[in-house]
C-alpha cells in the first residue's frame, strides 16, 4: 500500500493537489484539494450588484 501525491496538477486553471491510495496497482481511495482561496464570496458582500459580473468572471 502506498500513498502518492501530485502537486501541482498542471494544465488546469487554478491550484490542485491530488492524493491517491494505491493498493496492488489499483487506486483504492483518492483525495483532491484546491490549494488556493481568495474569498470572492466575502468580497462580493455589500457591493453594488451591477459590479458582480466583473468580479466573478475573474474567478
Amino acid at each position: 500500500m502506498a500513498k502518492i501525491a501530485i502537486d501541482p496538477i498542471t494544465r488546469i486553471e487554478g491550484h490542485l493537489r491530488i492524493e491517491a491510495q494505491v493498493d496492488g496497482g489499483k487506486v483504492t481511495d483518492a483525495w483532491s484539494s484546491g490549494t488556493m482561496w481568495r474569498g470572492i464570496e466575502l468580497i462580493l458582500k455589500g457591493r453594488d450588484p451591477r459590479d458582480c459580473w466583473a468580479l466573478t468572471s475573474r474567478i
Binding site: D7, R11, E13, L42, I43, D48, A54, L55, R58, I59
Partner: protein, 363 residues
C-alpha cells in the same frame, strides 16, 4: 520545457528557424519601438539586440490568480508573431501550459533558479496572501510567499503581470479576506516592474522585456513601478470618444441614441479621466478593440484599489481634474459646449450683420 538546454541561437536566428520572415521581424521591432514610445531611430538598436542576444530564461509563477494574464499572453496576435512572448523568452515553468506535473514541474522550476541564478526573468501572475501564515495559496506544499521569496529573490528581474500581482487586484478588494498583496510588497528589495491591467496587455509585457534585452535596463517607471510608456497618459485624453465629452454628448441609458452613436460614457460611470493606461492607442486582441470602443465604461483596472476607490463600476466620477484646476467633467463639457455655442452664435451674428450691411449697401 522540463530540462534546460544550452541553446546558442540568438532570438532572431530562432525566429528565422521557425519561419518568421525578416520583414515580419523588422515589423515586430518597429512595433516594439512604437509601444515603448521610442523614435524610429531606435529600431536598429532593437534589431541588433535581438540578433545578438539569446533568449533569457523565464519562469511564470501563478498564485492567487484566474489565469487571465496567461490567457492574454497566449492570445497574443500582434505584432505579427503569434507566440510573441514564447519566442522572445524561454519559458521553463508555467503551471497552466507545461507538460510535466508534480515533482517534474517542481524540478523544472528548481533547475532554473539554481542554474540561472541572477540571470532569469521571474514573471508573477496573481497576488500573494500574507494572512494566517500564507496558507491561502500553496503549491507543492509551499506557500506562495515562500516560493516568491526564493524565485523572485534570485531573478535578474521580476515582472508582476496583471493587477493582482501588481497591487493585490481582486483578491485584495475589501475586506481582503486573505491579506493579499502584490509581489513588490510581499518580497521587498527585489528588482521589479508592475504591469497591471485586468488582464495585462501582452504588448506592454513584451515591450518591457525587449527594452531590457536592448538597453540592459528597465524602462522608466512611475511612482507605482509601472512603465511610463504604458501608464504615463490618461485614458480620457486619448479616448476616441473624447470629442463627444467636449461637446457635451453623453450616453445616458444603455442602448439610447448616444450609445448607438458612440458618444461619451462618462455619465455611465467611465473612469477614463482617472485611469493611466495606453488602451486607446494599443488596444486589445491584436489592436481590434478595447472596452470603451466596445461601448462599456472603463473601470480603471490598472489603477491601485480600483474595486474600492471609485465606488461602483457604474457610478459617475464626481471630480475630474481639468487643465490645471479642479472642476467637474459636467462643467468642462457644458463650458466647452457653451463656448462652441457662443462661437456659433457669434458667427451667426457676424454673418447676419454682414448680410445686413451687404443688403444695405445694395440698397
Amino acid at each position: 520545457m522540463s530540462e534546460i538546454k544550452d541553446d546558442a541561437d540568438s532570438i532572431w536566428t530562432d525566429l528565422a528557424k521557425k519561419g518568421v520572415s525578416r520583414r515580419d521581424f523588422i515589423k515586430f521591432c518597429s512595433t516594439m519601438a512604437a509601444t515603448l514610445a521610442l523614435p524610429s531611430s531606435f529600431v536598429p538598436r532593437i534589431v541588433e539586440a535581438l540578433e545578438k542576444k539569446q533568449k533569457p530564461y523565464a519562469v511564470w509563477l501563478e498564485f492567487q490568480d484566474c489565469a487571465g494574464d496567461s490567457e492574454s499572453m497566449l492570445r497574443a496576435t500582434a505584432p505579427t508573431i503569434a507566440e510573441v512572448v514564447l519566442d522572445v523568452i524561454s519559458l521553463e515553468y508555467h503551471e497552466t501550459i507545461m507538460a510535466g506535473s508534480g515533482r517534474q514541474a517542481e524540478k523544472a522550476l528548481h533547475d532554473v533558479v539554481k542554474n540561472q541564478k541572477g540571470k532569469y526573468i521571474a514573471i508573477v501572475e496573481g497576488s500573494i496572501p500574507l494572512k494566517d501564515g500564507g496558507i491561502y495559496c500553496t503549491i507543492g506544499g509551499r506557500t506562495a510567499l515562500d516560493m516568491a521569496k526564493e524565485v523572485c529573490g534570485n531573478a535578474a528581474m521580476t515582472l508582476a503581470v496583471g493587477s493582482c500581482a501588481s497591487w493585490g487586484g481582486i483578491s485584495s478588494a475589501k475586506p481582503n479576506p486573505t491579506g493579499a498583496v502584490g509581489v513588490g510588497k510581499a518580497v521587498p528589495g527585489i528588482t521589479y516592474v508592475n504591469l497591471p491591467g485586468c488582464p495585462m496587455n501582452v504588448e506592454n509585457v513584451t515591450a518591457t522585456i525587449v527594452h531590457y534585452l536592448t538597453f540592459g535596463s528597465l524602462p522608466a517607471l512611475d511612482s507605482e513601478q509601472r512603465p511610463l510608456f504604458a501608464h504615463g497618459k490618461i485614458i480620457h485624453n486619448n479616448c476616441e470618444r473624447r470629442p463627444h465629452f467636449d461637446a457635451g454628448q453623453f450616453v445616458r441609458k444603455w442602448g439610447d441614441e448616444g450609445h448607438r452613436k458612440g458618444w461619451c460614457l462618462y455619465e455611465m460611470g467611465c473612469k477614463g479621466p482617472e485611469a493611466h493606461f495606453n488602451c486607446p492607442t494599443i488596444r486589445w486582441n491584436g489592436g481590434t478593440s478595447w472596452p470603451v470602443q466596445a461601448g462599456h465604461p472603463c473601470f480603471a483596472c490598472a489603477s491601485t484599489d480600483n474595486w474600492d476607490q471609485f465606488g461602483s463600476i457604474y457610478s459617475r466620477l464626481q471630480n475630474v481634474p481639468g487643465a490645471g484646476y479642479q472642476t467637474t467633467a459636467d462643467k468642462i463639457g457644458v463650458t466647452v459646449a457653451a463656448v462652441a455655442a457662443a462661437g456659433v452664435a457669434a458667427h451667426a451674428v457676424i454673418r447676419a450683420t454682414k448680410g445686413k450691411s451687404e443688403k444695405e449697401e445694395k440698397e
